[in-house]
Symmetry: C2
Protein backbone atom coordinates (compact mmCIF):
# COMPACT_ATOMS: atom_id res chain seq x y z
CA UNK A 1 0.00 0.00 0.00
CA UNK A 2 1.40 3.37 -0.98
CA UNK A 3 0.81 6.68 0.71
CA UNK A 4 1.06 9.60 -1.69
CA UNK A 5 2.19 12.13 0.90
CA UNK A 6 3.46 10.51 4.05
CA UNK A 7 4.99 13.57 5.70
CA UNK A 8 3.29 14.56 8.93
CA UNK A 9 2.65 18.12 7.83
CA UNK A 10 0.63 17.38 4.69
CA UNK A 11 -1.32 14.30 5.79
CA UNK A 12 -4.50 15.11 7.66
CA UNK A 13 -4.71 13.55 11.12
CA UNK A 14 -8.38 13.27 12.02
CA UNK A 15 -9.60 12.33 15.49
CA UNK A 16 -13.04 10.72 15.67
CA UNK A 17 -14.30 10.98 19.26
CA UNK A 18 -17.12 8.47 19.83
CA UNK A 19 -19.58 9.90 22.35
CA UNK A 20 -22.85 8.32 21.18
CA UNK A 21 -22.81 5.34 23.57
CA UNK A 22 -25.70 4.86 25.94
CA UNK A 23 -23.59 3.28 28.68
CA UNK A 24 -26.00 0.56 29.76
CA UNK A 25 -23.57 -0.57 32.43
CA UNK A 26 -23.37 2.95 33.83
CA UNK A 27 -26.69 4.69 34.47
CA UNK A 28 -29.34 4.91 31.72
CA UNK A 29 -30.57 8.23 33.16
CA UNK A 30 -27.15 9.88 33.30
CA UNK A 31 -24.95 9.65 30.19
CA UNK A 32 -21.43 8.88 31.40
CA UNK A 33 -19.88 11.18 28.77
CA UNK A 34 -21.36 14.13 30.67
CA UNK A 35 -20.30 13.09 34.17
CA UNK A 36 -17.92 15.68 35.62
CA UNK A 37 -14.52 14.61 36.92
CA UNK A 38 -12.36 17.30 38.52
CA UNK A 39 -14.58 20.07 37.13
CA UNK A 40 -14.64 18.73 33.57
CA UNK A 41 -17.16 16.48 31.81
CA UNK A 42 -15.63 13.22 30.59
CA UNK A 43 -16.29 14.10 26.93
CA UNK A 44 -14.46 17.43 27.38
CA UNK A 45 -11.38 15.64 28.77
CA UNK A 46 -11.41 13.45 25.66
CA UNK A 47 -11.90 16.20 23.07
CA UNK A 48 -9.24 18.37 24.74
CA UNK A 49 -6.62 15.63 24.46
CA UNK A 50 -6.87 15.81 20.67
CA UNK A 51 -7.44 19.59 20.50
CA UNK A 52 -4.14 20.03 22.37
CA UNK A 53 -2.10 17.70 20.15
CA UNK A 54 -0.38 19.88 17.53
CA UNK A 55 -0.32 17.07 14.97
CA UNK A 56 -4.09 16.48 15.04
CA UNK A 57 -5.66 18.61 12.30
CA UNK A 58 -9.39 17.90 12.65
CA UNK A 59 -11.84 16.45 15.16
CA UNK A 60 -15.22 14.83 14.57
CA UNK A 61 -17.44 14.18 17.58
CA UNK A 62 -20.02 11.42 17.15
CA UNK A 63 -23.04 11.94 19.42
CA UNK A 64 -26.48 10.51 20.08
CA UNK A 65 -29.68 12.53 20.05
CA UNK A 66 -29.76 12.40 23.85
CA UNK A 67 -26.42 14.17 24.31
CA UNK A 68 -26.28 16.20 21.06
CA UNK A 69 -27.31 19.54 22.56
CA UNK A 70 -25.31 19.21 25.77
CA UNK A 71 -22.11 18.33 23.91
CA UNK A 72 -22.80 21.02 21.32
CA UNK A 73 -22.93 23.62 24.10
CA UNK A 74 -19.69 22.32 25.63
CA UNK A 75 -17.91 22.48 22.27
CA UNK A 76 -19.14 26.03 21.75
CA UNK A 77 -18.29 27.18 25.27
CA UNK A 78 -14.75 25.81 24.99
CA UNK A 79 -14.17 27.33 21.52
CA UNK A 80 -12.37 24.28 20.15
CA UNK A 81 -10.66 25.25 16.92
CA UNK A 82 -10.42 21.75 15.45
CA UNK A 83 -13.93 20.37 16.00
CA UNK A 84 -15.44 20.35 12.50
CA UNK A 85 -18.76 18.66 13.22
CA UNK A 86 -21.03 16.95 15.69
CA UNK A 87 -22.28 13.91 13.89
CA UNK A 88 -25.27 11.70 14.69
CA UNK A 89 -24.07 8.18 15.56
CA UNK A 90 -25.89 4.88 15.47
CA UNK A 91 -27.19 2.33 17.91
CA UNK A 92 -24.03 0.20 17.95
CA UNK A 93 -20.49 1.39 18.25
CA UNK A 94 -19.75 0.20 14.72
CA UNK A 95 -22.70 2.25 13.38
CA UNK A 96 -21.04 5.35 14.84
CA UNK A 97 -17.70 4.56 13.23
CA UNK A 98 -19.46 3.90 9.92
CA UNK A 99 -21.28 7.24 10.12
CA UNK A 100 -17.98 9.03 10.71
CA UNK A 101 -16.27 7.21 7.82
CA UNK A 102 -19.16 8.10 5.49
CA UNK A 103 -18.87 11.77 6.44
CA UNK A 104 -15.10 11.74 5.88
CA UNK A 105 -15.58 10.16 2.45
CA UNK A 106 -18.19 12.78 1.56
CA UNK A 107 -15.77 15.52 2.66
CA UNK A 108 -13.18 14.17 0.21
CA UNK A 109 -10.63 13.14 2.85
CA UNK A 110 -7.67 11.45 1.08
CA UNK A 111 -7.07 7.70 1.47
CA UNK A 112 -3.78 8.21 3.27
CA UNK A 113 -5.29 10.41 6.00
CA UNK A 114 -4.63 9.13 9.49
CA UNK A 115 -7.88 8.51 11.33
CA UNK A 116 -7.71 8.07 15.11
CA UNK A 117 -10.89 6.59 16.54
CA UNK A 118 -11.22 7.30 20.25
CA UNK A 119 -13.74 6.19 22.84
CA UNK A 120 -14.85 9.31 24.73
CA UNK A 121 -15.16 7.16 27.86
CA UNK A 122 -11.34 7.11 28.02
CA UNK A 123 -10.81 10.68 29.21
CA UNK A 124 -7.17 10.44 30.28
CA UNK A 125 -5.48 9.43 27.03
CA UNK A 126 -1.98 10.92 27.05
CA UNK A 127 -0.20 12.93 24.37
CA UNK A 128 2.38 10.11 24.20
CA UNK A 129 -0.36 7.63 23.36
CA UNK A 130 -1.81 9.87 20.65
CA UNK A 131 1.67 10.57 19.23
CA UNK A 132 2.52 6.86 19.35
CA UNK A 133 -0.54 6.11 17.25
CA UNK A 134 0.26 8.83 14.69
CA UNK A 135 3.90 7.64 14.49
CA UNK A 136 2.94 3.98 14.03
CA UNK A 137 0.69 4.97 11.11
CA UNK A 138 3.83 6.16 9.32
CA UNK A 139 4.92 2.54 9.14
CA UNK A 140 1.67 0.55 9.41
CA UNK A 141 -1.83 1.01 8.00
CA UNK A 142 -3.38 0.22 11.38
CA UNK A 143 -2.26 0.66 15.00
CA UNK A 144 -3.96 0.51 18.36
CA UNK A 145 -3.06 1.72 21.80
CA UNK A 146 -3.07 -1.27 24.13
CA UNK A 147 -1.83 -2.12 27.59
CA UNK A 148 -0.07 -5.36 28.52
CA UNK A 149 -2.40 -7.44 30.66
CA UNK A 150 -1.08 -7.90 34.20
CA UNK A 151 -3.64 -10.64 34.71
CA UNK A 152 -3.45 -13.97 32.94
CA UNK A 153 -6.20 -14.05 30.30
CA UNK A 154 -8.50 -17.07 30.03
CA UNK A 155 -10.39 -17.80 26.83
CA UNK A 156 -13.58 -19.68 27.57
CA UNK A 157 -16.31 -21.65 25.89
CA UNK A 158 -19.83 -22.58 26.96
CA UNK A 159 -20.19 -25.70 29.11
CA UNK A 160 -23.85 -26.16 30.07
CA UNK A 161 -24.84 -22.97 31.86
CA UNK A 162 -21.25 -22.28 32.84
CA UNK A 163 -18.16 -20.94 31.17
CA UNK A 164 -15.15 -23.25 31.14
CA UNK A 165 -11.58 -22.41 30.23
CA UNK A 166 -10.65 -23.35 26.65
CA UNK A 167 -7.14 -21.94 26.48
CA UNK A 168 -4.71 -19.73 28.34
CA UNK A 169 -2.67 -17.52 25.99
CA UNK A 170 0.81 -16.48 27.09
CA UNK A 171 0.73 -13.39 29.24
CA UNK A 172 3.38 -11.56 27.23
CA UNK A 173 1.12 -11.84 24.18
CA UNK A 174 -2.06 -10.73 25.96
CA UNK A 175 -2.97 -7.05 25.67
CA UNK A 176 -6.01 -5.04 26.72
CA UNK A 177 -7.19 -2.90 23.81
CA UNK A 178 -7.54 0.79 24.52
CA UNK A 179 -8.06 3.74 22.22
CA UNK A 180 -7.23 5.65 20.09
CA UNK A 181 -7.18 3.02 17.41
CA UNK A 182 -5.58 4.50 14.32
CA UNK A 183 -5.97 3.62 10.65
CA UNK A 184 -5.09 4.97 7.26
CA UNK A 185 -8.48 6.12 5.99
CA UNK A 186 -8.49 3.78 2.96
CA UNK A 187 -7.70 0.79 5.23
CA UNK A 188 -10.49 1.25 7.74
CA UNK A 189 -12.94 2.10 4.94
CA UNK A 190 -12.10 -1.06 3.03
CA UNK A 191 -12.40 -3.18 6.19
CA UNK A 192 -15.83 -1.73 6.97
CA UNK A 193 -16.95 -2.20 3.33
CA UNK A 194 -16.01 -5.88 3.50
CA UNK A 195 -17.67 -6.24 6.89
CA UNK A 196 -20.90 -4.64 5.68
CA UNK A 197 -21.61 -7.76 3.59
CA UNK A 198 -21.42 -9.97 6.69
CA UNK A 199 -24.79 -10.34 8.45
CA UNK A 200 -23.10 -11.46 11.70
CA UNK A 201 -20.99 -8.31 11.86
CA UNK A 202 -21.26 -6.64 15.26
CA UNK A 203 -17.78 -5.74 16.46
CA UNK A 204 -17.12 -4.02 19.79
CA UNK A 205 -13.77 -2.88 18.51
CA UNK A 206 -12.55 -1.26 15.26
CA UNK A 207 -9.23 -3.10 15.32
CA UNK A 208 -11.20 -6.32 15.13
CA UNK A 209 -12.76 -5.22 11.85
CA UNK A 210 -9.31 -4.90 10.27
CA UNK A 211 -7.95 -8.10 11.86
CA UNK A 212 -11.01 -10.10 10.73
CA UNK A 213 -11.57 -8.67 7.24
CA UNK A 214 -8.05 -7.61 6.21
CA UNK A 215 -6.00 -10.35 7.89
CA UNK A 216 -2.90 -9.48 5.87
CA UNK A 217 -2.67 -5.93 7.24
CA UNK A 218 -0.64 -6.01 10.46
CA UNK A 219 -2.08 -3.92 13.29
CA UNK A 220 0.74 -2.47 15.41
CA UNK A 221 0.53 -2.22 19.19
CA UNK A 222 1.22 1.24 20.65
CA UNK A 223 2.16 1.32 24.34
CA UNK A 224 -0.82 2.34 26.47
CA UNK A 225 -1.03 2.69 30.22
CA UNK A 226 -3.45 1.91 33.04
CA UNK A 227 -4.26 5.65 33.26
CA UNK A 228 -5.97 5.39 29.88
CA UNK A 229 -8.82 3.60 31.63
CA UNK A 230 -12.37 3.29 30.36
CA UNK A 231 -15.22 4.57 32.52
CA UNK A 232 -17.74 1.74 32.25
CA UNK A 233 -19.61 1.60 35.55
CA UNK A 234 -20.02 3.93 38.52
CA UNK A 235 -17.48 1.78 40.35
CA UNK A 236 -14.87 3.22 37.96
CA UNK A 237 -15.43 6.79 39.14
CA UNK A 238 -13.21 6.79 42.27
CA UNK A 239 -10.28 5.50 40.19
CA UNK A 240 -11.07 8.04 37.47
CA UNK A 241 -10.95 10.84 40.06
CA UNK A 242 -7.57 9.64 41.33
CA UNK A 243 -6.14 9.61 37.82
CA UNK A 244 -7.64 13.02 37.03
CA UNK A 245 -5.94 14.52 40.09
CA UNK A 246 -2.59 13.07 39.01
CA UNK A 247 -3.06 14.35 35.46
CA UNK A 248 -3.95 17.85 36.69
CA UNK A 249 -0.88 17.92 38.98
CA UNK A 250 1.41 16.69 36.19
CA UNK A 251 0.09 19.37 33.80
CA UNK A 252 0.56 22.09 36.40
CA UNK A 253 4.13 20.94 37.04
CA UNK A 254 4.86 20.95 33.30
CA UNK A 255 3.40 24.45 32.92
CA UNK A 256 5.56 25.65 35.81
CA UNK A 257 8.71 24.19 34.27
CA UNK A 258 7.79 25.79 30.96
CA UNK A 259 7.26 29.18 32.62
CA UNK A 260 10.63 28.99 34.41
CA UNK A 261 12.29 27.99 31.15
CA UNK A 262 10.67 30.86 29.24
CA UNK A 263 11.62 33.31 31.96
CA UNK A 264 15.24 32.09 31.89
CA UNK A 265 15.25 32.66 28.13
CA UNK A 266 14.30 36.25 28.84
Amino acid sequence: MKHASASVQTTPVIAVVLAAGVGHRFDPDQPKQLVTIEDKPIVVWSIEAFEQNPRVTDILVVVSEAVHDAIGELVEANRYSKVRALLQGGKERSDSTEAALAMLAKAGVPGNAKVLIHDSARPFVSQEEIDGCIDALGEFTAATVACPSTDTILLTGDLGDRQAVRSVPERRHSFRAQTPQGFRFETIRKAYDLAADDPDFRPTDDTRVVVDYLPDEPVAIVAGSPSNMKVTTKDDLPMARLIAQTVVKRREAKAKVRAIFNQALG
Copy 2:
Protein backbone atom coordinates in the same frame (compact mmCIF):
# COMPACT_ATOMS: atom_id res chain seq x y z
CA MET B 1 -12.92 -39.15 38.09
CA LYS B 2 -14.56 -40.34 41.32
CA HIS B 3 -14.46 -38.66 44.68
CA ALA B 4 -14.80 -41.12 47.54
CA SER B 5 -16.37 -38.67 49.98
CA ALA B 6 -17.74 -35.65 48.23
CA SER B 7 -19.74 -34.14 51.08
CA VAL B 8 -18.48 -30.74 52.23
CA GLN B 9 -18.15 -31.76 55.85
CA THR B 10 -15.75 -34.68 55.39
CA THR B 11 -13.60 -33.41 52.52
CA PRO B 12 -10.71 -31.22 53.63
CA VAL B 13 -10.69 -27.75 52.05
CA ILE B 14 -7.12 -26.50 52.13
CA ALA B 15 -6.16 -22.93 51.27
CA VAL B 16 -2.62 -22.41 50.00
CA VAL B 17 -1.75 -18.72 50.34
CA LEU B 18 1.23 -17.87 48.12
CA ALA B 19 3.29 -15.12 49.75
CA ALA B 20 6.78 -15.95 48.50
CA GLY B 21 6.78 -13.59 45.51
CA VAL B 22 9.45 -10.92 45.29
CA GLY B 23 7.25 -8.40 43.48
CA HIS B 24 9.81 -7.09 40.98
CA ARG B 25 7.23 -4.68 39.61
CA PHE B 26 6.55 -3.30 43.09
CA ASP B 27 9.62 -2.34 45.13
CA PRO B 28 12.49 -4.80 45.62
CA ASP B 29 13.24 -3.26 49.02
CA GLN B 30 9.70 -3.46 50.34
CA PRO B 31 7.85 -6.78 49.94
CA LYS B 32 4.33 -5.93 48.82
CA GLN B 33 2.82 -8.70 50.99
CA LEU B 34 3.82 -6.66 54.05
CA VAL B 35 2.52 -3.28 52.88
CA THR B 36 -0.22 -2.08 55.21
CA ILE B 37 -3.62 -1.13 53.80
CA GLU B 38 -6.18 0.24 56.26
CA ASP B 39 -4.10 -0.92 59.25
CA LYS B 40 -3.56 -4.45 57.96
CA PRO B 41 -0.67 -5.94 55.97
CA ILE B 42 -1.76 -7.31 52.60
CA VAL B 43 -0.83 -10.88 53.57
CA VAL B 44 -3.01 -10.61 56.70
CA TRP B 45 -6.02 -9.55 54.62
CA SER B 46 -5.48 -12.64 52.46
CA ILE B 47 -4.99 -15.16 55.29
CA GLU B 48 -8.01 -13.77 57.17
CA ALA B 49 -10.31 -14.29 54.20
CA PHE B 50 -9.70 -18.05 54.44
CA GLU B 51 -9.49 -18.17 58.25
CA GLN B 52 -12.99 -16.63 58.36
CA ASN B 53 -14.57 -19.03 55.85
CA PRO B 54 -16.23 -21.81 57.87
CA ARG B 55 -15.76 -24.38 55.08
CA VAL B 56 -11.98 -23.93 54.86
CA THR B 57 -10.37 -26.50 57.17
CA ASP B 58 -6.64 -25.77 56.82
CA ILE B 59 -4.32 -23.03 55.59
CA LEU B 60 -0.75 -23.30 54.32
CA VAL B 61 1.20 -20.07 53.84
CA VAL B 62 4.09 -20.25 51.37
CA VAL B 63 6.80 -17.69 52.15
CA SER B 64 10.28 -16.69 51.03
CA GLU B 65 13.25 -16.41 53.35
CA ALA B 66 12.99 -12.61 53.18
CA VAL B 67 9.46 -12.50 54.62
CA HIS B 68 9.43 -15.73 56.67
CA ASP B 69 9.99 -14.14 60.08
CA ALA B 70 7.73 -11.14 59.52
CA ILE B 71 4.82 -13.31 58.35
CA GLY B 72 5.52 -15.83 61.14
CA GLU B 73 5.11 -13.06 63.70
CA LEU B 74 1.88 -11.85 62.08
CA VAL B 75 0.42 -15.36 62.10
CA GLU B 76 1.35 -15.77 65.76
CA ALA B 77 0.05 -12.35 66.80
CA ASN B 78 -3.29 -12.97 65.09
CA ARG B 79 -3.66 -16.50 66.59
CA TYR B 80 -5.05 -18.02 63.39
CA SER B 81 -6.51 -21.42 64.24
CA LYS B 82 -6.26 -22.91 60.75
CA VAL B 83 -2.71 -22.00 59.70
CA ARG B 84 -0.86 -25.33 59.84
CA ALA B 85 2.53 -24.28 58.49
CA LEU B 86 4.70 -21.60 56.99
CA LEU B 87 6.42 -23.26 54.07
CA GLN B 88 9.51 -22.17 52.17
CA GLY B 89 8.57 -21.44 48.53
CA GLY B 90 10.68 -21.36 45.41
CA LYS B 91 11.97 -18.78 42.98
CA GLU B 92 9.06 -19.07 40.56
CA ARG B 93 5.40 -19.12 41.41
CA SER B 94 5.14 -22.70 40.18
CA ASP B 95 7.98 -23.74 42.52
CA SER B 96 5.91 -22.46 45.43
CA THR B 97 2.83 -24.39 44.34
CA GLU B 98 4.96 -27.51 43.89
CA ALA B 99 6.43 -27.14 47.38
CA ALA B 100 2.93 -26.87 48.83
CA LEU B 101 1.69 -29.91 46.89
CA ALA B 102 4.70 -31.95 48.09
CA MET B 103 3.95 -31.02 51.69
CA LEU B 104 0.27 -31.96 51.31
CA ALA B 105 1.25 -35.33 49.82
CA LYS B 106 3.65 -35.97 52.69
CA ALA B 107 0.90 -35.10 55.17
CA GLY B 108 -1.31 -37.79 53.60
CA VAL B 109 -3.99 -35.41 52.30
CA PRO B 110 -6.59 -37.46 50.34
CA GLY B 111 -6.85 -37.13 46.57
CA ASN B 112 -10.34 -35.67 46.75
CA ALA B 113 -9.32 -32.81 49.03
CA LYS B 114 -10.19 -29.39 47.66
CA VAL B 115 -7.08 -27.24 47.35
CA LEU B 116 -7.59 -23.49 46.86
CA ILE B 117 -4.43 -21.75 45.67
CA HIS B 118 -4.54 -18.02 46.38
CA ASP B 119 -2.19 -15.21 45.48
CA SER B 120 -1.57 -13.21 48.68
CA ALA B 121 -1.37 -10.06 46.54
CA ARG B 122 -5.17 -10.29 46.12
CA PRO B 123 -6.16 -9.16 49.62
CA PHE B 124 -9.85 -8.45 49.02
CA VAL B 125 -11.08 -11.85 47.87
CA SER B 126 -14.69 -12.18 49.03
CA GLN B 127 -16.39 -15.03 50.88
CA GLU B 128 -18.67 -15.46 47.83
CA GLU B 129 -15.62 -16.01 45.62
CA ILE B 130 -14.14 -18.58 48.03
CA ASP B 131 -17.51 -20.32 48.39
CA GLY B 132 -18.01 -20.28 44.62
CA CYS B 133 -14.71 -22.07 44.18
CA ILE B 134 -15.52 -24.69 46.84
CA ASP B 135 -18.98 -25.25 45.30
CA ALA B 136 -17.62 -25.61 41.76
CA LEU B 137 -15.22 -28.30 43.00
CA GLY B 138 -18.26 -30.39 43.90
CA GLU B 139 -18.97 -30.68 40.19
CA PHE B 140 -15.58 -30.09 38.52
CA THR B 141 -12.04 -31.15 39.32
CA ALA B 142 -10.74 -27.64 38.66
CA ALA B 143 -12.24 -24.15 38.96
CA THR B 144 -10.88 -20.63 38.94
CA VAL B 145 -12.22 -17.29 40.02
CA ALA B 146 -12.15 -14.97 37.02
CA CYS B 147 -13.63 -11.64 36.03
CA PRO B 148 -15.14 -10.91 32.60
CA SER B 149 -12.85 -8.54 30.74
CA THR B 150 -14.46 -5.16 30.12
CA ASP B 151 -11.70 -4.38 27.64
CA THR B 152 -11.39 -6.17 24.33
CA ILE B 153 -8.40 -8.53 24.54
CA LEU B 154 -5.81 -8.58 21.76
CA LEU B 155 -3.55 -11.58 21.25
CA THR B 156 -0.28 -10.53 19.67
CA GLY B 157 2.78 -11.94 17.99
CA ASP B 158 6.27 -10.54 17.41
CA LEU B 159 6.70 -8.35 14.31
CA GLY B 160 10.27 -7.05 14.23
CA ASP B 161 10.78 -5.17 17.47
CA ARG B 162 7.05 -4.54 17.79
CA GLN B 163 4.03 -6.51 18.84
CA ALA B 164 1.28 -6.83 16.24
CA VAL B 165 -2.25 -8.09 16.74
CA ARG B 166 -2.74 -11.75 15.76
CA SER B 167 -6.33 -12.25 16.82
CA VAL B 168 -9.14 -10.64 18.76
CA PRO B 169 -11.13 -13.16 20.79
CA GLU B 170 -14.79 -12.43 21.48
CA ARG B 171 -15.22 -10.27 24.53
CA ARG B 172 -17.85 -12.53 26.11
CA HIS B 173 -15.29 -15.33 26.10
CA SER B 174 -12.41 -13.25 27.49
CA PHE B 175 -11.84 -13.46 31.24
CA ARG B 176 -9.13 -12.12 33.52
CA ALA B 177 -7.88 -14.89 35.79
CA GLN B 178 -7.96 -14.15 39.49
CA THR B 179 -7.51 -16.39 42.50
CA PRO B 180 -8.31 -18.59 44.34
CA GLN B 181 -7.84 -21.26 41.74
CA GLY B 182 -9.25 -24.51 43.10
CA PHE B 183 -8.44 -28.11 42.28
CA ARG B 184 -9.10 -31.56 43.58
CA PHE B 185 -5.74 -32.50 45.07
CA GLU B 186 -5.21 -35.51 42.78
CA THR B 187 -5.92 -33.33 39.72
CA ILE B 188 -3.45 -30.56 40.41
CA ARG B 189 -0.83 -33.10 41.53
CA LYS B 190 -1.19 -35.08 38.32
CA ALA B 191 -0.98 -31.92 36.20
CA TYR B 192 2.20 -30.80 37.97
CA ASP B 193 3.70 -34.31 37.65
CA LEU B 194 3.13 -34.25 33.89
CA ALA B 195 4.47 -30.70 33.65
CA ALA B 196 7.63 -31.59 35.58
CA ASP B 197 8.84 -33.62 32.56
CA ASP B 198 8.55 -30.54 30.31
CA PRO B 199 11.75 -28.46 30.26
CA ASP B 200 9.88 -25.40 28.92
CA PHE B 201 7.47 -25.43 31.84
CA ARG B 202 7.26 -22.01 33.52
CA PRO B 203 3.61 -21.17 34.07
CA THR B 204 2.46 -17.92 35.67
CA ASP B 205 -0.84 -19.52 36.49
CA ASP B 206 -1.89 -22.86 38.03
CA THR B 207 -5.01 -23.14 35.88
CA ARG B 208 -2.74 -23.14 32.87
CA VAL B 209 -0.97 -26.25 34.15
CA VAL B 210 -4.26 -28.15 34.16
CA VAL B 211 -5.44 -26.71 30.82
CA ASP B 212 -2.13 -27.55 29.13
CA TYR B 213 -1.37 -30.95 30.65
CA LEU B 214 -4.85 -32.32 31.37
CA PRO B 215 -6.79 -30.85 28.44
CA ASP B 216 -9.75 -33.17 29.02
CA GLU B 217 -10.46 -31.83 32.51
CA PRO B 218 -12.76 -28.82 32.20
CA VAL B 219 -11.82 -25.86 34.39
CA ALA B 220 -14.96 -24.03 35.54
CA ILE B 221 -15.14 -20.25 35.77
CA VAL B 222 -16.31 -18.86 39.14
CA ALA B 223 -17.60 -15.28 39.08
CA GLY B 224 -14.97 -12.87 40.37
CA SER B 225 -15.16 -9.11 40.70
CA PRO B 226 -12.96 -6.07 40.14
CA SER B 227 -12.55 -5.77 43.93
CA ASN B 228 -10.51 -8.97 43.90
CA MET B 229 -7.68 -6.96 42.34
CA LYS B 230 -4.00 -7.86 42.41
CA VAL B 231 -1.53 -5.41 43.93
CA THR B 232 1.27 -5.45 41.36
CA THR B 233 2.81 -1.96 41.36
CA LYS B 234 2.71 1.03 43.71
CA ASP B 235 0.20 2.60 41.31
CA ASP B 236 -2.27 -0.03 42.51
CA LEU B 237 -2.19 1.18 46.11
CA PRO B 238 -4.69 4.07 45.86
CA MET B 239 -7.26 1.72 44.31
CA ALA B 240 -6.45 -0.91 46.94
CA ARG B 241 -7.09 1.65 49.70
CA LEU B 242 -10.45 2.59 48.17
CA ILE B 243 -11.52 -1.06 48.03
CA ALA B 244 -10.28 -1.69 51.57
CA GLN B 245 -12.41 1.19 52.88
CA THR B 246 -15.48 -0.22 51.11
CA VAL B 247 -14.80 -3.71 52.47
CA VAL B 248 -14.38 -2.41 56.02
CA LYS B 249 -17.66 -0.43 55.78
CA ARG B 250 -19.51 -3.43 54.36
CA ARG B 251 -18.26 -5.68 57.17
CA GLU B 252 -19.25 -3.15 59.83
CA ALA B 253 -22.73 -2.87 58.32
CA LYS B 254 -23.07 -6.67 58.28
CA ALA B 255 -21.95 -6.90 61.92
CA LYS B 256 -24.49 -4.25 62.88
CA VAL B 257 -27.32 -6.10 61.12
CA ARG B 258 -26.25 -9.31 62.84
CA ALA B 259 -26.23 -7.60 66.24
CA ILE B 260 -29.71 -6.15 65.71
CA PHE B 261 -30.94 -9.57 64.58
CA ASN B 262 -29.46 -11.31 67.62
CA GLN B 263 -30.94 -8.69 69.95
CA ALA B 264 -34.37 -9.12 68.35
CA LEU B 265 -34.11 -12.87 68.95
CA GLY B 266 -33.60 -12.03 72.62
